[in-house]
């Protein structure tokens, strides 16, 4: 084949990075995505972790517990919205079709969105950590801070897969509603707003059905708290969710073309 038409690996990497960079810029410039994603977890933290936290009996524990559970809550959004709503829009608006006609390197589309979601997850969690360390007076060994950050950055992936699945099945109009219908109830049922032990027994029993529950447990363990410390099991469950929804979404994406 004509050598002029071969892509060097540096050029392919450049294409991936360009795609990721503009995906990030684009979401950053979309206030309806960027503001709630970045600010809601922090606002909740200031409200429930700092202002309404009397600090008397287990104040320190509450601030640290909420850091972990709001981290899990916070990283769900870039995955669910960044994929669910954005893919639904791009599918309906013909952008996905155009990209399929262009010689975009295979995988660049999903990889760019994934990197973007991971970056947003990192921002959300670092902001929470900053608030926890300053206003919340949370003290942890450095290893726990790092473990929580890693949990957040990788923990966004199953929600990317779920979002992608939604984006391939639901129209642009319905996608935000569908995502919210999954995001908010699942956060509650997984004990990310109110610790599970305060929820009815039945809800506690079905909590392992929700991927957010497993991420919440990992986040608690990562920050050295009262999680069940079965991180490997939870991680395996999340990997399973990721692969299953990704496979389902692939079928939908092919059909959408």
């Amino acid at each position: 084949m004509d050598t002029a038409l071969r892509m060097s690996s540096a050029r392919v990497a450049h294409a991936w990075l360009t795609e990721a960079k503009y995906e990030f810029l684009r979401l950053l410039r979309t206030p309806s995505f960027a503001l709630p994603t970045i600010l809601f977890p922090s606002m909740f933290y200031i409200l429930f972790g700092v202002l309404l936290n009397d600090g008397s009996r287990h104040g320190y524990g509450v601030a640290a517990h909420l850091l972990a559970s709001y981290s899990a809550f916070g990283v769900m959004a870039p995955g669910l919205f960044g994929f669910g709503v954005v893919v639904a829009m791009e599918r309906e608006h013909g952008l996905l079709t155009l990209k399929r006609a262009l010689p975009m390197p295979p995988g660049a589309y999903l990889l760019a969105k994934m990197l973007m979601a991971m970056l947003f997850a990192a921002i959300v969690v670092m902001l929470l950590m900053l608030l926890a360390a300053t206003l919340g007076h949370v003290r942890m060994p450095p290893g726990n801070w790092i473990a929580l950050l890693i949990t957040a950055v990788l923990g966004v992936l199953p929600f990317c897969a779920i979002g992608l699945f939604i984006g391939t099945r639901v129209g642009a109009q319905g996608a935000p509603a569908v995502v919210n219908l999954i995001y908010l109830p699942m956060s509650f049922l997984s004990g990310l707003w109110i610790p599970l032990q305060f929820l009815p027994r039945f809800l506690q029993q079905i909590a392992p059905l929700w991927p957010a529950y497993h991420l919440g447990q990992i986040a608690l363990s990562a920050s050295g708290q009262d999680g069940d410390h079965r991180t490997a099991l939870h991680a395996a469950v999340l990997a399973g969710f990721s692969l299953a929804f990704f496979a389902l979404a692939q079928r939908g994406l092919r059909r959408a073309g």
Binding site: L5, E19, Y22, L25, G94, L95, A101, P103, M104, G257
Partner: protein, 305 residues
């Protein structure tokens, strides 16, 4: 495939459920030619283009680009595309959109060169979402030519453009063809096909019902038309040999026929006051209407039988 063919459909069939969108279409696009695909909505133009672009697989027959699978990256790297209803990322600036699209190609043109060729230098720092419809089309055109493609697919490229912008785009298209680029253009502006196309293919109900140069398509309609201001009686004119059609449009009379010289001589003799005489050959528009109506009538007869 001959050496000069860059894209082709071979007996291509595409069905959507019970609807047959393409029903055995053979189409060749040669190097350095502008092929216009004409047809009413639903005739199969967009389906033909999506098969050539590899966006869809034919149910029967095959589609080839540069003798490659149209879905292969190697084929797509030589192609530029402007789709009809693709909404680009509104919050990105025009220069960012060009950089992004250029990054997919091994050897794109420079940003400045793309902007110059598409005539959008002044739009580069603007956000895409803030542009007018016509400006957006020009940006989409810039993305289509950002890697100096060997073949360009343009789906209704001048919809929404004002007169000046349309003329400018026609000029760019002629320059591209002069440099050896092949262009496949779908349009429902017949004057666009008439002004640009080396070859025209007319689609109707998923079949190619006419193919050839603009002159050849025009020749499908042997008729010529007389327009003039005259008091002659329509019923009488319709009875004359050689007249196939006669109608009145205000004070103007329009007569169509095969042996128009004889008809004209008789009209001049019959009405000494006849004035503002005009005789012309059918344009592509008339040819197009006639070809598609014929094709549809044939299909309906076939279905009835």
């Amino acid at each position: 495939m001959t050496g000069s063919t860059v894209a082709q459909l071979e007996n291509a069939v595409k069905r959507y459920g019970a609807v047959t969108a393409l029903d055995g279409v053979d189409l060749h696009v040669h190097r350095g030619e502008l092929l216009a695909l004409l047809g009413v909505n639903g005739a199969g133009k967009t389906t033909a283009v999506s098969l050539l672009l590899g966006l869809q697989r034919p149910d029967g027959g095959r589609a080839r680009l540069f003798d490659l699978d149209p879905q292969s990256l190697a084929a797509r790297r030589r192609v530029g595309v402007m789709l009809q209803d693709a909404m680009l990322q509104a919050v990105l600036r025009v220069d960012e959109l060009i950089r992004l699209t250029s990054s997919y190609y091994p050897q794109p043109l420079s940003l400045q060169e793309v902007a110059r060729r598409a005539g959008i230098e002044e739009l580069l720092p603007r956000h895409y979402g803030k542009l007018s419809g016509g400006q957006k089309r020009r940006v989409q055109f810039a993305l289509a030519i950002c890697a100096d493609p060997e073949i360009l697919f343009l789906d209704e490229p001048t919809v929404g453009l004002d007169h000046g912008a349309r003329t400018a785009m026609w000029k760019s298209l002629r320059e591209l063809v002069a440099r050896g680029c092949s262009i496949v253009l779908t349009t429902h502006y017949l004057e666009e096909a008439e002004a640009l196309a080396d070859r025209v293919a007319v689609l109707s109900r998923g079949r190619i019902v006419a193919e050839g140069s603009v002159d050849e398509i025009r020749a499908h309609v042997a008729q010529r038309r007389i327009r003039c201001i005259s008091e002659l009686n329509l019923e009488m004119l319709r009875g004359w040999p050689g007249v196939t059609q006669a109608r009145r449009d205000g004070e103007r009379l329009e007569v169509a026929g095969d042996e128009i010289e004889a008809v004209l001589r008789r009209m001049l003799a019959a009405d000494p006051n006849l004035r503002e005489l005009e005789v012309r050959r059918a344009g592509l528009a008339e040819a197009f209407v006639e070809i598609t109506t014929d094709a549809e009538a044939r299909t309906q007869r076939k279905e009835a039988a």
